[in-house]
């Protein structure tokens, strides 16, 4: 740090300006609103009539709100299932498609193509797929599995998992790209040496490849958690939290409370809960970035 500091120049006024303008823009549109959310969370306010301070009452109300409980449980389910499925899928694909070969480029492109499609469009695509007379039920019919045909998005027990499949479809490519980069940095000679010593593919994967990917795992974990807590678009386009709030996540419930029901204080309390869930992972991610920053 000292060596770097000595290399850097005294700060001219123009440079202060170049730093301050972006900083002010971010402070005004991000930090200031974020701080505001905490004070809003202590109000009962519909945005029209004067606000009323209620202390922590909103949070007390949350604990007794059945929809909030569903949304919280769904968010935890989403975090775990979305995380496990997309990380397992992305990692498996990365390992399978790591070495160049015939067709590998095409496979990779096909897997990460969904990533460019927005979450909203992904939602629409899969709404079509899940229609009662849509391709999924028809394919099941063709395979003679009529018994498995469902009203995917109208069934409160299935709808959230149906949305999850769509979200994982989109996320796998992203995780694969991250792991492919990690594998590129891994030492291939170690794996070959182990192969020569008779370690099978499974052992080589767990003993040699996985430990070398620990850095990527941290990033993937943080990115996945932050992404899952943000998940909104895909649920909003596919079910809007229905049927009977069965697909409500904290993010969609917060949005609904704020902009459909107009309970701004109560919605801010939900936002604070989301923030508290995310903050640990944000710090993990930042700490890792700070370390790499230091190393560079």
């Amino acid at each position: 740090m000292a060596a770097l500091g000595a290399r850097l120049r005294r700060v001219p006024p123009l440079i202060w300006l170049m730093l301050l303008i972006p900083l002010v823009v971010e402070a005004f549109w991000v930090f200031w609103p974020a701080v505001n959310s905490f004070s809003l969370a202590t109000l009962r306010w519909d945005g029209i009539t004067p606000a009323e301070g209620v202390g922590l009452q909103n949070f007390v109300d949350l604990t007794a709100d059945p929809i909030f409980r569903t949304a919280a449980a769904n968010t935890v389910y989403w975090l775990i299932a979305f995380g496990l499925l997309s990380v397992a899928g992305g990692l498996a694909l990365a390992v399978a498609l790591n070495r160049p070969g015939r067709g590998v480029g095409i496979y990779r492109a096909a897997i990460y193509l969904p990533m460019v499609v927005s979450m909203a469009v992904t939602g629409l695509f899969w709404r079509v797929m899940y229609q009662p007379d849509g391709p999924i039920n028809s394919a099941l019919g063709l395979l003679g599995l009529e018994g498995l045909e469902r009203q995917w998005l109208a069934d409160p027990d299935l709808a959230l998992s149906a949305i999850l499949v769509a979200a994982v479809w989109r996320q796998c490519g992203y995780i694969m790209v991250l792991y492919l980069a990690g594998l590129k940095g891994a030492d291939a000679s170690l794996e070959e040496a182990a192969a020569v010593d008779g370690a099978n593919a499974w052992q080589r994967f767990w003993r040699i490849v996985m430990p070398q990917l620990s850095g990527v795992h941290t990033v993937v974990l943080a990115v996945t958690v932050i992404d899952s807590l943000r998940t909104f678009d895909i649920v909003w386009t596919m079910t809007r939290g229905g049927p009977y709030n069965s697909t409500q996540l904290l993010s969609t419930y917060m949005f609904q409370q704020a902009f459909t029901n107009g309970n701004l204080g109560y919605a801010s309390a939900i936002a604070v809960v989301i923030f508290l869930l995310a903050i640990g992972f944000i710090i993990t991610y930042l700490a890792r970035q700070a370390r790499t920053e230091e190393a560079s």
Binding site: P22, W29, V116, V117, S118, A120
Partner: protein
């Protein structure tokens, strides 16, 4: 790494198949790839059928002829043409403005002795990692407070503010690596910090600008939640919000919905294929190996 690996592996009793890949990869990957692409293929097939054909033969029948009815309806009646225009405008301005501002901050933080610069950098990055939900209600209020409620200006500004942290972080990493000698030489020639920024930093940072621009374009273009938070007038809706609207108006016209979602996917897909390399490297910066 506890695995004990004896050295001296050169002499091996039996060669492992190194070059000839097992056919299993293709046995698994070909069906998987087809399955992966199938939603896109199905939506494309539905988009070229007519409403009457879908009503008569069901959603999953294969198209017998190609009709552009769905696309025409989506673009005109569904207002997607206008929405595409809005999205393009918002994306272009937001990406340009946020990259310009972030490059200023990154230049200042990477090449000058600013007190607490590491803390500032991480704080800026942290802003980008916040869940948007914590910002929605206050941002809606603030844009009202400054008379920008329901305007594209507010939408662009919030996209800029939210993106700056990440772009600054990435550009900072890049600019830090630029060779000091170039700067030294420019200073000896009497160039001030502004000139150095324009003549040296901007041109040399082009690769990272390309990566970030590709990434930022898809992010801003694909946004839904900010548009829903800030905009009320349907005529101002960018593409994602317009799609949602169109779903309400054409709920059972699956050909229109399919066509509309393909239209919305086209621009990010084009950006992706044009800048595939930059796009992937952009995704990787955040993960730094």
């Amino acid at each position: 790494m506890r695995t004990a690996i004896p050295s001296g592996v050169a002499s091996t009793p039996r060669r492992r198949r190194r070059t000839g890949r097992s056919p299993w990869l293709h046995v698994v990957m070909i069906p998987l790839t087809l399955l992966w692409m199938s939603p896109i293929v199905f939506v494309a097939m539905i988009s070229v059928r007519t409403f009457d054909d879908i009503a008569a033969r069901g959603l999953s029948a294969l198209p017998t002829s190609i009709s552009l009815e769905g696309f025409a309806t989506a673009l005109s009646g569904g207002g997607l043409l206008r929405a595409l225009g809005v999205s393009t405008l918002v994306t272009a301005l937001a990406v340009l403005a946020s990259l310009a501002l972030s490059s200023w901050a990154a230049y200042a933080l990477s090449r000058f002795r600013i007190p607490g610069r590491r803390a500032i950098l991480l704080l800026m990055l942290a802003g980008n990692l916040l869940p948007a939900q914590i910002l929605l209600v206050p941002v809606a209020r603030i844009s009202e407070g400054i008379g920008l409620q329901d305007t594209l200006a507010a939408l662009i500004l919030v996209q800029v503010g939210f993106g700056i942290g990440f772009y600054t972080f990435v550009l900072h990493g890049f600019m830090q690596g630029l060779p000091e000698e170039v700067f030294e030489a420019a200073r000896l020639d009497g160039a001030g910090p502004g000139l150095i920024y324009r003549r040296i930093v901007l041109p040399l940072s082009r690769p990272s600008f390309a990566a970030l621009a590709a990434l930022a374009t898809t992010w801003v273009f694909n946004d839904l939640i900010w548009a829903l938070t800030i905009l009320r007038t349907e005529a101002k809706f960018p593409i994602s919000a317009a799609l949602l609207n169109l779903m309400g108006g054409y709920g059972s016209s699956w050909n229109v919905i399919a066509a509309a979602s393909l239209i919305a996917a086209v621009i990010p897909a084009l950006v992706f294929f044009a800048f595939q390399k930059q796009f992937v490297s952009g995704l990787l910066v955040g993960s730094s190996k």
